[in-house]
Amino acid sequence: MAATLAIAPERNDTAWPALRWAVARDVKLALRSRAELGVQLLFYVVVASLFPLATTPERSTLTLIGPGVLWVAALLASLLSLPRLFAADHADGTLEQIALSPYPLVALVGGKIVAHWLTTGLPLVVIAPLVGLQYALDEETLSVLAAALLIGTPILSLLGAIGAALTLGLRSSGGLVALLILPLYVPVLVFGAGAVEAARTGLGASAHLSLLGAGLLIACVGAPFAAAAAVRIALD
């Protein structure tokens, strides 16, 4: 019995340590290269600030376009950070070791996605209400914006992970990821910006937020498996 276990360890109970390993390692690595995180955050602020400059300083127009602009900027900032997810690990051979680990690959990939969201999505949630002030949005609308981003940005990381894994090892992967993933981001954009718009017009955002939440649950269940499968294909 003991010998059988030694030869084929039962690893069903190891999803949790695997997740922890991946989150801790990727967050640590991200904090060691804080400049990269800053670039992504600054990108968001700059893109979201271009629109008032390019259109009009008029209050009514800005509140009208604000929710959409803030969400499109979040989508673009998320795309900018996607190559970080797997490409570096692929280039230095860590991804091979991750795929050969006795831990379930889904849990390791899931941990990487969680770390990616903690270091790229969560800062957006925090800073978006500040950026939103330029669009003359009131307090309640801004809090709905933060809530919508809190539910929506993990979906962006989850879906983005599939695209990032599928384009591993390709030469122009950045542009291809955008083409591949942006269409999938559309529902998140529709319901995310819709929630903010509904809050602004006083309709109540709960329906939109519930749909976003449902999307998050579906993405949580499906995306790590798809990304893990794509990682294995990329290594073959």
Binding site: I7, W21, L29, D92, E96, Q97, P102
Partner: protein, 220 residues
Amino acid sequence: MSRKEDGGGWGYNRHPMLEAKKLAARRGFSRLFTGLSFRVASGEALVVTGANGSGKTTLLRMLAGLTAPEAGEIQWHGKQVGSFDRELRAAVAFSGHLPALKDGLTAEENLASLVALEGSPASRDAIAHALDAVALSRQRNLPARVLSQGQRRRIGLARLSLAARPLWVLDEPLAALDAAGSALLARMVGRHLANGGVAVIATHAPLGLPESRLASLVLS
């Protein structure tokens, strides 16, 4: 590991541990090899040699479970294993061309991270001891970025020594290692084989291991 002593029940010495049956591989349109069969028994190392581009790396990636063979099968302990097979993943330590080190982490953190990924986290003392054994104790707090190629290779050796895996698949393990490093590798592989382990090693240079433990495979 005490596998050999308590492992009589699963036939370490009766059956070949690693067996390839009529393996074939192709890269693009060119066929690298076909009908490749061999057995490696417990305590034996298979040394794979061959010209550049003859398929050594492809073969090793197949044996590690990273690449599915075009045809044929690989058996581990008499059971067929596919790519990314769970039993194979629990048994293999693969060291490829890429060092799997993070430039931003120190030598110690890199080693601890790799060993934890293999499911056998080691204490700080064990990590320090393993780094000491590969003569990196002075560099343990330096980021991997400033280490030389040979020193990076030595972190890989320390990882092998901590992992305690029965199957070692090493692709050009001597690359960038100095004479002392090569001798260290030879000692480590020797100890691994003496403990009943199996190794598959692609190399161009002689390893300095006793001939009796080596089987040779030449790809052409």
